[in-house]
């Protein structure tokens, strides 16, 4: 995407971080973020994503490596001189100041005059549709309102880079979805670069231009959401993003973008080799529940199929979720759309399932 780290707006170069001198929390991180990009760092807790964000903000120092902002190394610049806006997990709105005072704070410390401050505060509040709330105390606001104020405060001094550390974690589902939409809109409207940390994969998929999936101190995959979902590069990403059926087996035949996998139960299936290179490699194949096909007519005539027994049928409104016993595994899930002609399976029914070879990815064991 970028030729060198110098071209990127933000760049991590071989960054490592250790707290205790014994274990690395971040292992050799290399990441380039473009101007105006919305990048999400996604991963389970303890994967190092928040540490990366804190290093970028300046609250943690990198043990090794360099962080560049617009081509300049910022390792030795204290946080208050970096000019990076930040939204915290619990908003960190100053409880002893009113909303307007909270917003005035970054402008005051920059020595901005009163009238200019007021214009900017008004514009920022209007931007998050909180124009009438300037006189309130943070404690008098609801969670969603506090969230908006925190966002306005991070944006009021017009930073070019905004960091968000799980900003929606404390909101309920509906509000969260609404705010996801608003934040992305605002970020794109203002053209600011955003680095967003979350452990919620739906949030990452819906908001981001690119998602960096963190695990064990490394970026496991860095791709746009659709690529990440449809073409996971390893079994961690496949497991972490969305729901996934996994079956393990051994590669018995491989040719170009097709391979044959012999499952531990003895059944053979078609798959697309991703992390396997030779016959005899152990592999975990991954199939999305919505890509499993029950209708044989849609599969190619020579496709391998598996027998399955329905164990459970769950009605979820928009979709049906059916749990099967397939190839010795009791938690094989298929999802089907709630269409008028869709079959509602009853437990005990024996069915035959298959898939397009491209949808079944043979990953690392």
């Amino acid at each position: 995407m970028f030729d060198t780290a110098k071209d990127a707006f933000v760049a991590f170069e071989h960054v490592q971080k250790s707290y205790d001198g014994e274990t690395l929390v971040v292992k050799d991180l290399n990441l380039q973020i473009g101007q105006g990009e919305f990048l999400t760092m996604l991963g389970p807790s303890g994967s190092g994503k928040t540490t990366c964000l804190m290093m970028l903000a300046g609250f943690e120092t990198a043990t090794h490596g360099e962080i560049l902002l617009q081509g300049r190394p910022i390792n030795n610049i204290p946080p208050h001189k970096r000019g990076i806006g930040m939204v915290f997990q619990n908003y960190a709105l100053f409880p002893h100041m009113s909303v307007a005072e909270n917003l005035a704070f970054p402008l005051e410390v920059r020595g901005m005059g009163k009238s200019e401050r007021e214009t900017k505060i008004k514009r920022a509040l209007d931007m998050v549709q909180m124009g009438d709330f300037g006189g309130r105390r943070p404690a008098q606001l609801s969670g969603g309102q506090q969230q908006r104020i925190a966002l306005a405060r991070a944006l009021v001094f017009e930073p070019e880079l905004v960091l968000m550390d799980e900003p929606l974690g404390a909101l309920d589902k509906q509000l969260r979805e609404h705010m996801q939409f608003e934040i992305t809109n605002l970020a794109h409207q203002l053209g600011i670069t955003t680095v967003y940390v979350t452990h919620d994969q739906t949030e990452a998929l819906t908001m981001s231009d690119r998602v960096a999936v963190f695990d064990d101190g490394r970026i496991q995959q860095l791709d746009p959401p659709d690529v990440l979902y449809e073409q996971p590069q390893n079994s961690f990403v496949a497991q972490f993003i969305g729901e996934n059926n996994t079956l393990s087996g051994v590669v018995t035949q491989i040719s170009g973008d097709r391979c044959l996998v012999k499952l531990d139960s003895g059944d053979e299936i078609d798959a697309r080799p991703v992390n396997v290179s030779a016959v005899g490699d152990r592999t975990t194949v991954s199939i999305r529940p919505e890509r499993v096909e029950m209708d044989k007519r849609r599969l190619s005539p020579d496709a391998h199929t598996l027998k399955g027994e329905v164990l459970e049928f769950i009605y979820m409104g928009d979709i049906f979720r059916t749990r099967l016993r397939v190839a010795g595994s009791d938690d094989f899930i298929i999802k089907t759309r709630n269409a008028p002609d869709q079959q509602r399976l009853t437990p005990g029914t024996q069915i035959e399932i298959g898939w397009l070879p491209d949808d079944c990815r043979a990953l690392d064991a």
Partner: protein, 555 residues
């Protein structure tokens, strides 16, 4: 939905008003809660509220004067006293009988000590007079016994005065005894007063009743078998010498009519009755109008005198006046106590704030070690800590030695760090420091580090972030710590006593002095009450300025 169209109070399902049902349902719970706290409540009331209440009551209570000398006080009412004349004979007469009674019960010395607080020397006036009251009454006894030897017999007296109809006077005298001694004088005295005698010889009847009550109840003797006090003889002499007594007694023909007639006949040889001269002869304190003024000023049952004393004023006949400059100590002491407590509170904030910050922000392991260091003083006896400061602070002590060794201080001019206010401030700051650190710590612990980070990310320098974001949020802790330290400091006693010398003592040391050395409990109580009111007033002021909601002892 239930039917809610009916008007009037809301009813529960069985038709009882809802409020009544609710109260009934909650009563059990409330009762149970009350029973749970009952032991503590009883403990607090018995060991705290009652003693403190009685102590505070002592600051105005003054019944000892009117209780011991009730008739004297009555007689003194008409005496103005401003023009330097002594009270008239009537007062001295009443004093004789009151004192006689008090001296028999050994109550006169207590009154002497009480009045000595107000006027030095009063105590010895009472003590010496008490010993010689018999001498004042003796001439009358001799005279009566000369007039008729029957007066030497206790039975004669008994026969004269016993009868019926004088019960009221007996009860009145019984009440006077009870008032003076402070306990009940109930019980049979084996004697009933004749109503006729109570009228014919009122003073004697009263004096004889006094004696009879004392003899029967305190001495546990039989009234008819004992000889009365000299005071009874004096009273009879007074009654007989009164105008019109002879004509009234002429018609008397009851028991002892003959000795009485003989005594009346002997009236011309009655020695002169001049109690004033007699008292002044025993102790010239009774000739001092100043003493009499003091007695009159402090005659009411309740007095503001202790409080006036406590603010360096004294009570005169014309109202309160300031004491002479050389005797003013308490106001100065109060002001010093307040100023030094403020200084101690201030130093505790300055020293405690960084420690509390470290405690709240260090990793758990180091914070625990630090916490132990903070709490260590709590586990050491207060006396030991203060004595340790004595070792450190004295002129040949550790601190001076080090300063001299380092060359900061010349050996000849060692610093005077104790037996003055410096010593008190240093030692008390150290002792009270945990009371500042702990509330501060518990408040700081609740301030998430993300606030400081947020402030810095918004462009604030470390100092601005601290001063504008962290510090305002820690103010409740400072408030709580300050109240604790200040209130503890203002009433501190041991430390100023040990390291304070004369310049560094607090008002509480003075209170302790009055409680245990001078035994002027009234003044101690007044000083204590003023201290209590001061603390409450400051608390109120604090609430007005800072707001008590802004005080937090923890999350």
């Amino acid at each position: 939905m239930t039917d809610t169209t009916t008007s009037g109070p809301m009813l529960s399902a069985d038709g009882v008003p809802l409020k009544t049902s609710l109260a009934r349902a909650l009563r059990r719970q409330k009762l149970r809660a009350l029973i749970l706290i009952a032991p503590l409540l009883a403990f607090v009331v018995l060991t705290f509220v009652v003693p403190i209440g009685s102590m505070l009551f002592r600051s105005v209570e003054n019944q000892i004067v009117s209780g011991t000398l009730p008739k004297t006080i009555e007689a003194l009412e008409t005496w103005e006293g401003q023009d330097g004349t002594l009270p008239d004979q009537e007062v001295f007469q009443a004093l004789f009988f009151d004192m006689f009674r008090a001296a028999e019960a050994k109550e006169h010395t207590k009154l002497g000590s009480r009045l000595n607080y107000e006027r030095t020397g009063f105590s010895s006036v009472f003590r010496t007079t008490g010993r010689s009251l018999d001498d004042i009454g003796e001439p009358f006894q001799d005279w009566l016994e000369d007039a008729d030897p029957a007066f030497a017999e206790g039975l004669t007296w008994y026969e004269i005065f016993s009868g019926t109809g004088g019960e009221d006077l007996i009860e009145e005298r019984r009440a006077i005894w009870a008032n003076m001694v402070g306990e009940g004088f109930a019980g049979d005295i084996g004697f009933t007063l004749s109503g006729e005698m109570a009228q014919l010889l009122p003073q004697t009847a009263a004096a004889y009743s006094d004696w009879a009550i004392y003899t029967a109840i305190v001495e546990d003797d039989v009234v008819a078998e004992e000889d009365p006090w000299e005071a009874v003889y004096a009273a009879l002499a007074l009654d007989l010498a009164r105008d019109g007594a002879a004509s009234a007694l002429a018609a008397y023909s009851g028991a002892g009519a003959a000795p009485i007639a003989n005594a009346l006949a002997a009236l011309p040889s009655l020695p002169e009755i001049d109690f004033r001269a007699a008292f002044i002869a025993e102790n010239d304190g009774w000739g001092d109008t100043g003493n009499w003024q003091t007695l009159k000023i402090y005659s009411p049952d309740y007095t503001a005198g202790y409080f006036l004393n406590a603010i360096d004023m004294e009570k005169g006949l014309d109202g309160a006046t300031a004491r002479p400059e050389s005797q003013q100590i308490y106001v100065k002491l109060f002001i010093r106590t307040m100023i030094m407590s403020l200084i101690i509170t201030g130093s505790c904030i300055l020293l405690g704030y960084p420690v509390a910050w470290l405690l709240a922000n260090l990793p758990v392991r180091s914070a625990n070690v630090l916490m132990i260091l903070v709490l260590l003083p709590f586990w050491t006896s207060l006396l030991v800590r203060t004595s340790a400061w004595k070792v450190l602070l004295q002129q040949q002590g550790v601190i001076n030695d080090i300063l001299v060794w380092l060359g900061f201080v010349d050996d000849a001019n060692r610093l005077i760090l104790m037996n003055n206010s410096t010593g008190t401030i240093i030692a008390m700051t150290h002792i009270l420091l945990p009371f500042m650190i702990l509330p501060l710590y518990s408040v700081m612990k609740t301030i998430p580090p993300s606030y400081l980070r947020a402030a810095k990310s918004l462009g604030a320098t470390n100092w601005t972030a601290f001063w504008r974001v962290y510090f305002p949020q820690s103010i409740p802790g400072i408030g709580a710590g300050s109240i604790l330290v200040f209130i503890l400091a203002i009433g501190y006693y041991i430390t100023p006593e040990i390291v304070g010398g004369t310049d560094g003592v607090f008002i509480s040391n003075r209170i302790a002095h009055h409680i245990s050395s001078s035994l002027n409990w009234g003044l101690a109580a007044a000083l204590g009450s003023i201290l209590l009111v001061l603390v409450l007033a400051l608390y109120w002021l604090y609430d007005r300025i800072v707001g008590i909601d802004n005080v937090k002892l923890g999350g």
